[in-house]
């Protein structure tokens, strides 16, 4: 069943969603939620949607267009859902809203609307009123008037035949967003220091780290800007502590300065870009995957980098740890491309799945020398065996060197003989990502016989899964996790035999398609693109695929 609550921002729609999620989790129901919010803190529309299964366990599917129950505050909200409810009797709302069936209306106060809506949907979902009441009381620390909740319940009960569904043996379930997963993975991977600057949709990462890190001996710092954040992270990483930074497009612009520096001094650095609609300040609360080119090319060249992208919420748990490992193994920046949709959507996940994903990645520090070790005749940037140089950190006796952004020799000293260091040290530094030690560059989905191969990253992952599940004879998929360097061999194998390759992405210019165009056979692929800030529902995605199949528009030539 899909439910939706829509009111204006500031009305507590998200709070109702949080309480509902907690009850669903405690009941072991399988579900996923979306938040759709406006840039306006008070006054814009905010929606909370949840897909809830009768079943328990497993991962919930992608967002669906059709909604069973929508509770709306006003006319604007009603218009958003009128076409999406399966039947008009699924529309509930305030007495003042036209188009809502009479039996489904109630005289509502703006303040109590969220609890009333919570009552309606909880009843429709068969949740016991006691559970919801208890969760609401806990959420508000006992200080709340629950009268609207009961009224909502009664309203929905009047038109509902099914009684409460009894919770089955509730499995141990967690509710997880991409941002949650990223933070858990990072902390599990050994991150104990975090520096950040607030920005939608990455602020939560700073908030979680600020709340969680002190409990495990760590610290989070809210710093003056993203330039400070990345340089503090470089300092901490140089000093041997694992860390990462996360921001969104405008912050990535500022962080660019630090990327080249980290790469030049060969310090591990993980940078997460929680992409939102650009350019400039763009659409802060809307999703997009339009920073790819920036992540690939940012900075005055030439320096090595690796770019990864998680393919789903659970995948974030592992990818951030793999990014930390790759940064240590290759001593270079690793950029992680997230998108707003993936960062903010919440899904129910069996705790065991979370635990497995966390545990799968052991921490690898590569050639890092930590105190109390000591070294002799040490040259930081010398790599005799054709591999990577050893990296000492402060406290290692004999390990002193200069970490300089100026071009340097093997000791790190500036003003070297450029003629001699550019073909040696500089080349070694550039070429160290030619062979990336990553074992999960992509995941193929579906049958290798299917003629049309859908390629995507991030939020596209679950849509590709849904499309393949809907039409297994027509579609197969490739969820790409390593974007740079392009994992050419794996990609070629995955698309082999496909009649058509369709690259699916949230941007206007087909950035991923352009990146892959030189690798994909016949030099080209079709694209499915969306850039209006909204994310696809499964139905809309399938329609877009169909349309792309019919037109030649969108063909990218390599």
């Amino acid at each position: 069943m899909v439910i939706a609550i829509c009111g204006y921002t500031g009305q507590g729609v998200e709070t109702a969603g949080a309480i509902l999620s907690e009850v669903l989790r405690a009941n072991g129901r399988r579900f996923r939620t979306w938040r759709d919010f406006s840039t306006i803190i008070r006054g814009g529309l905010t929606s909370f949607e949840a897909y809830v299964d009768e079943d328990t366990g497993g991962e919930a599917p992608a967002r669906l267009h059709a909604v069973d129950v929508a509770v709306v505050w006003d006319r604007q909200a009603a218009e958003r859902y009128r076409d999406r409810v399966r039947h008009v009797t699924g529309l509930y709302g305030a007495a003042t809203v036209d188009g809502v069936p009479n039996a489904n209306r109630d005289v509502l106060d703006p303040v109590g609307f969220n609890l009333w809506a919570l009552g309606v949907v909880a009843c429709k979902l068969g949740l016991s009123p006691e559970d919801v009441q208890a969760a609401a009381m806990a959420h508000f620390h006992q200080r709340v008037n629950l009268e609207p909740l009961h009224r909502g319940y009664a309203k929905a009960a009047g038109s509902t035949s099914s009684g409460p569904v009894q919770a089955s043996d509730a499995p141990d379930t967690a509710i997880l967003s991409g941002n949650d997963a990223l933070c858990l993975g990072a902390i599990h991977g050994g991150v104990r220091i975090y520096c950040g600057y607030p920005i939608t949709p990455a602020s939560e990462i700073l908030e979680y780290m600020a709340a969680w890190l002190p409990e495990v001996g760590g610290r989070a710092y809210q710093v003056e800007d993203e330039i400070a954040a990345i340089h503090m992270a470089i300092g901490a990483s140089y000093a041997g502590m694992r860390t990462f930074v996360a921001t969104s497009g405008p912050g990535i612009d500022l962080m660019t300065e630090g990327l080249g520096y980290a790469a030049t001094i060969e310090v591990p650095l993980v940078v997460v870009d929680n992409q939102r609609g650009g350019p400039s300040t763009g659409m802060p609360t809307k999703t997009e995957q339009s920073d790819l080119r920036h992540l690939l090319y940012a900075g005055h060249w030439e320096f090595p980098r690796i770019v990864l992208a998680p393919t789903g919420v659970v995948d974030c748990l592992a990818v951030i740890q793999e990014a930390l490992n790759l940064a240590d193994l290759h001593q270079c920046p690793v950029l992680v491309a997230l998108d707003l949709d993936l960062a903010l959507r919440r899904i129910s996940v069996p705790w065991e799945t979370v635990n497995d994903a966390l545990m799968r990645v052991p921490a690898l520090r590569g050639r890092t020398v930590l105190p109390p070790a000591s070294v002799h005749g040490y040259r930081r940037f010398a790599a005799e065996d054709g591999g990577l140089p050893w990296r000492t950190v402060p406290g290692v006796r004999g390990g002193g060197y200069v970490a300089s952004g100026d071009e340097h020799d093997e000791r790190g000293w500036m003003e070297p003989d450029f003629q001699s260091v550019r073909p040696t040290l500089h080349r070694r530094r550039l070429e160290k990502v030619h062979c990336v030690r990553y074992d999960r560059p992509l995941t193929p989905v579906g049958s290798p016989e299917a003629p049309v191969c859908l390629v995507g990253t991030g939020a596209m992952g679950e849509l590709i899964h849904a499309a393949v599940a809907a039409h297994p004879d027509l579609y197969r998929g490739v969820l790409l996790r390593q974007l740079w360097p392009v994992p050419a061999d794996g990609l070629l194998a995955a698309v082999a035999g496909a009649r058509e390759v369709v690259v699916c992405e949230y941007n206007a210019t087909g950035q991923l398609a352009h990146l892959l165009a030189t690798t994909v056979p016949d030099g080209g692929c079709r694209t499915v693109r969306r850039y209006d800030g909204e994310h696809y529902t499964v139905e809309a995605f399938l329609a877009a695929l169909e349309a792309a199949g019919e037109t030649l528009h969108g063909r990218v030539r390599g």
Binding site: I175, L184, E204, P214, I227, Y238, A239, M241, A403, E415
Partner: protein
Amino acid sequence: MTLDLKAYENGNRPTWCPGCGDYAVLKVIQRALLELGIAPEDVVLVSGIGCSGKISHYFGGYGVHTTHGRVLPVAQGIAAARPDIAVIAAGGDGDGYGIGVGHLVHAVRRNLPLTYVVMDNGVYGNTKGQTSPTSPTGYRSSTSPHGNADEPVHPLRLAWSAGATFIGQGFSGDIRHLVELLKQAVSHPGFALVNVFSPCVVFNKTHDYAFYRRSVFYQETPARSSAELIQLLETHPFPLGVLWRTDRPAAARLETGPADAVPSDCMRRWLRGTLG
């Protein structure tokens, strides 16, 4: 192992102009660390960009030569992550009071334990003598041929207004005094700003050694109140010594030691918390 000055050198010969004030600053940092008994491998000298920024290339411990203006963020990252390591940040007036001045205000507020030495020569030495944030009004250079129109930055007042817990000032022409000053700064449990008049003998024709010898004033004890500090800065434009010191607590840092595994109930509890 007994330490000597050699342990704080790395054999790299400085390429500063003969007579540059920065030679003295390097010497002073090395001597102060030796006298404090802090082993070179337990120190990171973080520097900015400019002639002054080269200082980390001549240090026998760990050196970090950052990008222009970012010396304080990098230094704070190290200080926050490694409470067992002494951090000295160093750079020029252009680096610290121009491009990096925003970071200075926040480093002062945050009060992570580290010493920040600014080699103040009133010019952009490395780029060949342009006007800098501490060049006086009326100063003539290639970028202000008709005289500098701007009010100079007053770093000590700026740091004080941001809540500094330690403000000192020294002069490259008085090494002994500067060593003592630096030892106090390095021992300070919070953020310590040490502004050093470090003449650029090539480009700054007005603020040379002779000028400072004439102008400096030795202040024996820190000001006891804000009024006294302001009064001091009004009457003596070039006071030397520890001028201001308070004991506001420093920012919390990482607890050292390896990162232990986080118990899974702890993570589960965290996830519940994110819903509200």
